[in-house]
Every structure is written in structure tokens, then in C-alpha cells.
């Protein structure tokens, strides 16, 4: 019951209705925002949404430790359950995250040429049936421009949905007149869907600023609750 409720009521349904073919396999999406605005929370909600639909996911991180990522999932899931007035049930939660694999690359400056073969080994040998890959914390802004293209090629070749977070840290103004992050200009070609998180009116709002070759939907009316970082439709 909890699964159906959480899937049905997720703001991601609005998101999916507002962009073209996002859930289609083989596409690359990027969530861009400055540090601490809520990129990880967004990506973890997206991952949990897929897990609730009993789709396997891989969460790639570049953190020093794995446990804090696991905590993110538990916290966000608890908040989601609470938002529906449901008690947190560890058994159900563990059943949900059973189809998640966290892959952590701890060495500073781990190259994409190294990460992608490992990711492929995991998909082929370790966790067949993965449909979505979440990549959080990768510093591709300081990496060669072709790195993002490699992720896109990977998504296409493996027919998977790949989402990457991009941490913006340039100087103001961060965004151009179309709402696109200036720092990502040279990567736009490789990105199918580009979502930015922007703070105004005391909340963080999701904007779709690139939607393949379609006119982007712009602000979606979905924002992050400042206390729980959960996405909500307003």
C-alpha cells in the first residue's frame, strides 16, 4: 500500500509530465545548483521513486565514506513516509532499498575512464537489471569536457537513465538569461535534461532549463521543503 501511495503522490509525476521522455532509457539528466541547496536530496528522492517501483538503481558517489549516503536514503524515506502520515517501518524500508547498490569511488580525482568500466562490471556481473544510475558528487566542472559526453555515451550504449549532480561554484550571476548555469555552457551538448535548483521566496524551486530539443518547461511549481528537503507541489 505504502509503495503505491508514495509512487502516486510523488511530485516526480508532475516532473515527468512536464518534460519529454525523461524516463526513457539512454538519456542523461543533470541537476545543477550551488553546494548545499539540495541536489543530493533531489537525486535520492528520484532514486527512491525508482526503488519503490521495484526498479534496481546504482548510486555512484565520490565521498570519503559510504555510510552518509545510506543515511540520506533512510532520512528521505522516513520523511516521505511521514508526509503520508505513515509510520516508518524498517522491514518495508529494507525491502525497498534491497535493489540499490552504492558504488563509492573514494580516491581524489578518480577518472571517468576508470569509473565507467567499474560501473559496467557492476551492471553486468553484480546487479543485472539496473535501470537508473545516480551519480552524485562528481566534479565534472573541473574535469575534461568530454567526460560528461562519456557518461552520455554510456547511458545510450547501456540503455539506462543516468542522472548526475553538478555543483555550481562560479561567481554571480550563476545563470544566464535563459536560466542556464553559465559554468555548464560547454557541456550543454551532452545534456538531455537540465534541471536547476534556485532559491527564492524562502524555498528552493526546480526549473527545467533544457529539455532535449523541446522548449523547456521552466519553473515547475515543485519546490523543496526547507525543513525536510522533500519535493512538494505548491
Amino acid at each position: 500500500m505504502i509503495r503505491e501511495e508514495l509512487i502516486k503522490k510523488s511530485p516526480l509525476r508532475t516532473f515527468e509530465a512536464s518534460v519529454h521522455g525523461m524516463t526513457a532509457a539512454g538519456k542523461l539528466g543533470v541537476v545543477a545548483a550551488p553546494k548545499g541547496v539540495g541536489k543530493t536530496a533531489c537525486l535520492v528522492q528520484l532514486a527512491i521513486d525508482r526503488l519503490l517501483q521495484q526498479k534496481a538503481i546504482i548510486h555512484v558517489s565520490y565521498a570519503s565514506r559510504v555510510d552518509y549516503i545510506l543515511t540520506w536514503y533512510e532520512d528521505i524515506y522516513q520523511e516521505l513516509a511521514r508526509s503520508l502520515g505513515l509510520e516508518f517501518d524498517r522491514d518495508i524500508y529494507e525491502e525497498v532499498v534491497k535493489h540499490r547498490v552504492v558504488m563509492n569511488f573514494s580516491q581524489e580525482g578518480m577518472r571517468t575512464d576508470h569509473v565507467l568500466p567499474s560501473l559496467e562490471a557492476m551492471m553486468v556481473h553484480g546487479k543485472p537489471g539496473v535501470e537508473t544510475v545516480i551519480v552524485d558528487g562528481y566534479n565534472f566542472i573541473d574535469s575534461p569536457a568530454q567526460d560528461l559526453q562519456k557518461f552520455k555515451d554510456f547511458a545510450w550504449r547501456m540503455r539506462k537513465e543516468v542522472w548526475i549532480s553538478a555543483s555550481l561554484r562560479g561567481e554571480e550571476p550563476l545563470f544566464d538569461e535563459r536560466g542556464r548555469p553559465r559554468e555548464l555552457e560547454r557541456y550543454l551538448e551532452a545534456i538531455d535534461i537540465l534541471v536547476t535548483l534556485r532559491y527564492h521566496d524562502r524555498r528552493v524551486w526546480l526549473h527545467v532549463v533544457k529539455d532535449m530539443d523541446y522548449p523547456p518547461a521552466g519553473e515547475l511549481g515543485i519546490s523543496l521543503d526547507p525543513a525536510t528537503l522533500l519535493m512538494a507541489r505548491l
Binding site: S64, R65, V66, L70, D91, K98, V101, V102, M103, N104, F105, S106, Q107, M110, H114, S118, A121, M122, V124, H125, G126, K127, P128
Partner: protein, 692 residues
């Protein structure tokens, strides 16, 4: 006469297997003049390291039983418990840690933090044991103590503060730089016994200064006096030492020392550090509980004049009878004293009291608070507390996990049978995770333990130490049965065979229960079953739980709610209601969708990253769920949850798929439902429980 407890240290040496801790212990014993010759672990000189007291340990090059010994350094007495490195023997590590005030965490300068290091680290944290890290094997090719320091921070989450840096590495290793005194330290003489302190070589001046500043920066938080002195432009060595000591005891920092035990470098400064930075028994707070009021917590004081309290942390059966290793937490224990064991409700007199040194021992007259000693001839169990008669207290018991694997063993002849009984009696007393019993149906002897290697080692010991000739069956997983839905019962037990009959009727339901093994709820109203028969009903249900109907394994996770019933004024009895309860259970069990549960192990596999594919595939093939993987460029570590039944023989498989470079550890995690296809297969195979 009371001794100065501030000059005592109780320490353990914990580490990953093969990180060289036995060699390190050997060197410590040598420099403290406990032994007069050094040996190597693998017994190249045919003798074997002193701490490896069992022949088998000598052959395998690993330490299985914790051996206790005490040494003297800088006018301090150091009690050392050598702890084993393999997860299968974790109970040993846990028991040792329970009684320690400090520890040395040994790491390999090449391998760094490995999965077993993380397990040991978690145990140190669980028992809040302050520790020093010692990065060993600086002489090895690929040694990188700075990388290992970073791993201690990243993987173990400790604030690692370097107190030394190396002078040269690998075959260029010449000595270390002491970042507190800012001197170069060399280890001369054929066995590194002569310490030479000199000025830091010019080429390392800058590095030393940088790491010294990093150290001062990290430790100044723990001493206001040091901060004041620093602001005034001074840096007294005594304040630096005091600050490191405070940071270590509060477990805020982990001082990092380094060297090569094999090359006799860095051991004496490590001993200095044990004395300087680890706490004495009086600085660690310990608690006990009143045996009369279990909720009343009593703080123990390391005072020789107080009432005695001691904790038995290890039993060994030796040629002179049972040897009980204990730690005295309060008061003192003297030969001839009378002590009380509240668990056994028994008084006993202290006979022979000894201090242990690996295989040899010395007789002592008394042991006082803070000391580790051993008693002869006391009937007790591991985990018992001894206190003054009339003031019984209990120290919280060590957590003992349930065994997850069993094996049938068949002695070949009467002599072996006889010896086997002796061996089993000894091993089961020494190690609470190792159990044995005779299967009443097959009459086979069954042994149970925490993993394949755990049982292997005991079988080897039976053969060697007791000359038992035996064969073994296939390892058997300790399955459990449970129910998955509510089911009602209404059962009448009625028997009339002349004379007094038997009558009892019970009505109620079974419900699945996740958080407990069993719960009995009496919801009978209006005396439909008289109160005196309710315990008999409970007993009947519990008896039924002992053996499920699918495979014959114990049934867990059941709540029984008794709602109604009927009795007969003449024919009802305890026995009749017990029989009714058992009948009712089986009546409802079939309807409650019974299922089989299997032990799931938390498995951690490590190997070179180039073998990621085969390693991942090997887990996937074993019905494993991969939880995470971590790569640092060279190595991959995969954490997974895998059913125990799929892990038999995995060490051989892993070796072959990683060209011998992979290794794994596993420990029990939880019980989980066996997939339907497997359950059907198990039932069809007639898999039968060898459990009691």
C-alpha cells in the same frame, strides 16, 4: 600492600590478519625482557612466536586464542592480551576488548585499512577503548604510511594524528622522526635494542616541521595550558604529551605511530606511547549491576580497599584443571579469600592465583583492582562476575552470538570417541560460540559454530591435541521456521483410558511476530481456563516451537494469543493443557503459512580492482545482494549480504578467481526468508534439523 595503579596499563593488540601483530607482540616481549630470543610467526626457525601458544597457531601463522601476558616498561606494568584477527573468532576479540583499558590498532603500511580492520575498529568503538594506531611493515615494498593515515580518517572516521614520520621507506627504512621531541630516532644493535637519538636529517627538516605543526594544531584543542603556552611562543614537551594523552583517552584523536616489527624499528617508542598516552585502570569508568536489584547500576572504583569485584573473561582447560582468566575491577583478590558467584549462586575459595605469560605462569599472592590474572580450579562460566559474599553484583555480560552452522562428526573408534568427549567438554567451556550435542534421532555428534573456519580449527585441534580420528559430514545451515499469517486454533485434548482421564481445550490464534522469538498473551476471560493451567499452556506452546514441521528446525517469531478454552473439574491437569497447547499449535501452524528462514551473512570481499567483475559475479551467483562497493584506484571492497548456505567453500573460489589476491570476511547479520523454490527443494531433499 596496595600498588600504584597509575603505573598499570591493560592493553590489547588488535588488527587485520597478517598485519604483523604477533611479530609485534614478540618484539614487545623481547624489549621488555620477557623473552630472550625473538622468533618469527611462520616458524622459519622452527620455534614460532611466543604468543602463539598452540601448535596449530604456529603452523598457520595466526593467533587463535588470546594469550595474556604482562611486561614491564619504564617502571610501568603492561598487561597485554593478544587478540586473534579472523572474524570467525570474533568472540575472542570481543572478550579481550571487554577487559581492556586501551589498545594498539596495528595496520599494514601496504594494505592499509582492510575490512577486518574496520570490524576490529567497530569493536573498539563499541567498548569505547581508546587506542593508538601502529603502522607496521614500513620495510615492505609499496609502504605508504601517509596513505594509511588518510585511510584511518576516511574509512574509520578517526582523527588520526601522526606522532612520527619515517626516515626512508621500504629497504631504505632507517628510523623514524619523533614529532614531539623533534628528533631522529635510530635503532642500532643486532636486534634494534640500542636507541640513538640525533638531529633530524636536513632533507627531512621541512616535512618534519610541517607534520609537527599539523600535530600541534590537532592536539592543542585538548589542553588550554598548551594553547596558552603556544600563544606565548613556547612549546613545552610535557604539555604536548599531556594534550595527546587527553585527546587519546577521550577518544577524540588516534595518535599514529609507525615502524617495522620485523626489522626491529619503532617498537620502543610504541611502548613509550602506551605508557604515556593510554589510560591507567583508574581513569576508566566501569559499571556493575546489583544482583538483587538488576536495575540499580553501581560504579566500580579501582580502589584496592573496596569490596572485590572481578570478571571472568576467558576459560581454558589445561593440564592442571580449569584456568579462569579474570580482570579485577574493584578491591583485591587474595589467595584464600572467599568469593561469591551470583549466577551460579555459589561460594568458592580462591586457591592458586597466577599471572599469565603466554604458555608459562607465575604464582602470585594477590591481584588488585585494575589487574588481569588467572585462577585455578574454579567452576564457572565465561562472563561470570565474582564479588564479596553478601554484596553480589553482576557486570553486564558479553554478547554471545548464536551459532549459524553445524557439522556432524563421526569418531572412528572407541578411543577416539572417548577422547572426543574430553575435547568437546573443553572447547565448549572455553568458547561459548562453539557448541556440541548428540542428535537424539541419529545419535550423531553435532558441533556448531560461527563459520566454516571456526569449526575447521576445532576439528584440527581434536585431531592434534586429543588424537581423535574422525570423519565429518556436510556443513549444515541452522535454518529456522516461522509463520507468515494469522491462524486460529480450537483444540480439544481428551483421553479416557480408564482411571482419571485427560481433558483440556484451548482456543486462540497464532500471529507472526518480527521483533521477538516468542510471545505468549493470556486473553482468557472469566476463568474459562483456570489460572493455574495458563503456565502449562504457555509451556506446551514453547515445547511445540522447538521443532517445526517443515524441516524440524526451531520455530521463531510467533505470538500466541490464548482467548478461550474449557476445562474439566476432574480430568483437567497441567499435562492435559500442555498436550492441548501442542495440538493447537500444530493445528494452526499448517494454516499460518509456515516458511523457512536462513542465516544471512554480512560479507565483505576485497581484492585488486581489476578483478571487480569476477568478484561481483561470484556474489551475484550466490544469491547475494550487493549493498555497496568502494574503490580507491587499486582495490575494490564489496559489501554484500549473502545466505550462509551459499558461502561454503567460498575462500577457495575467491582465491581462484582473483589469482590468490582476494580475501573476504563474514559475520552473521540476520535471518531472512528462504525463496520459495529453495524452500521446496530443501523440503523435498528432506533436509533435517540436527538441532536440539
Amino acid at each position: 600492600m596496595a600498588q600504584d595503579v597509575t603505573r598499570w596499563r591493560n592493553i590489547g593488540i588488535s588488527a587485520h590478519i597478517d598485519s604483523g601483530k604477533t611479530t609485534l607482540t614478540e618484539r614487545i616481549l623481547f624489549y621488555c625482557k620477557r623473552i630472550h630470543r625473538m622468533h618469527e610467526v611462520k616458524g622459519k626457525d622452527g620455534v614460532g612466536a611466543t604468543m602463539d601458544s598452540m601448535e596449530l597457531e604456529k603452523e598457520r601463522g595466526i593467533t587463535i586464542s588470546s594469550a595474556a601476558t604482562n611486561v614491564s616498561w619504564l617502571d610501568h606494568r603492561i598487561n597485554i592480551i593478544d587478540t586473534p584477527g579472523h572474524v570467525d573468532f570474533t568472540i575472542e576479540v570481543e572478550r579481550a576488548l571487554r577487559v581492556l583499558d586501551g589498545a594498539i590498532l596495528v595496520l599494514c603500511s601496504v594494505g592499509g585499512v582492510q575490512s577486518q580492520t574496520a570490524t576490529v575498529d567497530r569493536q573498539l568503538k563499541r567498548y569505547q577503548v581508546p587506542c593508538l594506531a601502529f603502522i607496521n611493515k614500513l620495510d615492505r615494498v609499496g609502504a605508504d604510511p601517509f596513505k594509511v593515515r588518510a585511510q584511518i580518517e576516511e574509512k574509520l572516521g578517526r582523527k588520526a594524528v601522526l606522532l612520527q614520520i619515517p626516515i626512508g621507506l621500504e629497504d631504505e627504512l632507517r628510523g623514524i622522526i619523533d614529532l614531539i621531541s623533534m628528533e631522529a630516532v635510530y635503532f642500532d644493535g643486532p636486534q634494534g635494542e640500542i636507541i640513538r637519538r640525533e638531529a633530524i636529517p636536513a632533507s627531512l627538516q621541512l616535512d618534519a616541521q610541517r607534520w609537527h605543526e599539523a600535530m600541534v594544531d590537532a592536539i592543542s584543542l585538548y589542553s588550554d595550558e598548551l594553547t596558552e603556552a603556544l600563544l606565548a611562543g613556547h612549546e613545552p614537551e610535557s604539555l604536548l604529551i599531556e594534550a595527546v594523552r587527553k585527546g587519546t583517552i577521550s577518544q577524540s584523536i588516534t595518535p599514529v605511530l609507525m615502524g617495522s616489527a620485523y626489522k626491529n624499528k619503532g617498537i620502543q617508542p610504541l611502548l613509550d606511547a602506551v605508557v604515556r598516552f593510554l589510560p591507567h585502570p583508574g581513569e576508566v569508568v566501569h559499571w556493575a549491576y546489583s544482583a538483587h536489584e538488576p536495575d540499580r547500576r553501581i560504579q566500580l572504583v579501582a580502589d584496592a580497599k573496596a569490596d572485590p569485584v572481578a570478571f571472568a573473561f576467558k576459560l581454558e582447560d589445561g593440564p592442571f584443571g580449569q584456568l579462569t582468566h579474570l580482570r579485577v575491577y574493584q578491591g583485591r583478590i587474595r589467595r584464600g579469600d572467599e568469593l561469591y558467584n551470583p549466577r551460579a549462586l555459589r561460594m568458592f575459595r580462591v586457591g592458586r592465583l597466577v599471572k599469565m605469560h603466554a604458555d608459562s605462569m607465575e604464582d602470585i599472592e594477590e591481584a588488585q583492582a585494575g589487574d588481569i590474572a588467572a585462577l585455578f580450579g574454579v567452576e564457572c562460566q565465561s562472563g561470570d562476575t565474582f564479588s564479596k559474599p553478601g554484596h553480589p553484583v553482576l557486570m553486564s555480560n558479553i554478547h554471545v552470538p548464536e551459532p549459524v552452522i553445524s557439522l556432524a562428526i563421526f569418531p572412528s573408534d572407541t578411543k577416539s570417541s572417548h577422547n572426543l568427549a574430553k575435547a568437546l567438554q573443553r572447547f565448549t567451556k572455553e568458547d561459548p560460540t562453539f557448541r556440541s550435542f548428540i542428535d537424539p534421532e541419529s545419535k550423531q555428534t553435532i558441533i556448531q559454530g560461527m563459520g566454516e573456519l571456526h569449526l575447521d580449527v576445532y576439528i584440527e585441534r581434536m585431531k592434534r591435541e586429543y588424537q581423535v580420528i574422525l570423519e565429518t559430514g556436510q556443513p549444515q545451515v541452522a535454518y529456522r521456521e516461522s509463520i507468515s499469517r494469522r491462524a486460529d486454533f480450537d483444540y480439544v485434548h481428551k483421553k479416557q483410558t480408564g482411571g482419571a482421564g485427560q481433558f483440556g481445550r484451548v482456543i486462540g490464534r497464532l500471529e507472526p511476530l518480527t521483533e521477538k522469538v516468542y510471545e505468549f498473551v493470556n486473553a482468557v476471560k472469566g476463568g474459562r481456563i483456570p489460572r493455574e493451567y495458563i503456565p502449562a499452556c504457555d509451556k506446551g506452546f514453547q515445547a511445540a516451537l522447538k521443532k517445526g514441521r517443515l524441516l524440524g528446525f526451531p520455530v521463531v517469531g510467533v505470538r500466541v494469543v490464548l482467548t478461550d478454552g474449557q476445562f474439566h473439574p476432574v480430568d483437567s491437569s497441567d499435562l492435559a493443557f500442555q498436550a492441548a497447547a501442542q495440538g493447537a499449535f500444530w493445528q494452526a501452524y499448517e494454516k499460518a503459512a509456515p516458511l523457512i528462514l536462513e542465516p544471512i551473512m554480512k560479507v565483505s570481499v576485497e581484492g585488486p580492482a581489476e578483478f571487480a567483475g569476477p568478484i561481483l559475479a561470484s556474489i551475484n551467483k550466490r544469491r547475494g545482494t550487493i549493498v555497496s562497493s568502494a574503490e580507491d584506484g587499486m582495490f575494490i571492497r564489496v559489501e554484500a549480504e549473502v545466505p550462509l548456505s551459499e558461502m561454503f567453500g567460498y575462500s577457495t573460489i575467491l582465491r581462484s578467481i582473483t589469482q590468490g589476491k582476494g580475501e573476504f570476511t563474514m559475520e552473521f547479520l540476520k535471518y531472512d526468508r528462504v525463496p520459495t523454490f529453495m524452500a521446496e527443494r530443501l523440503i523435498a531433499q528432506g533436509q533435517r534439523s540436527p538441532e536440539r
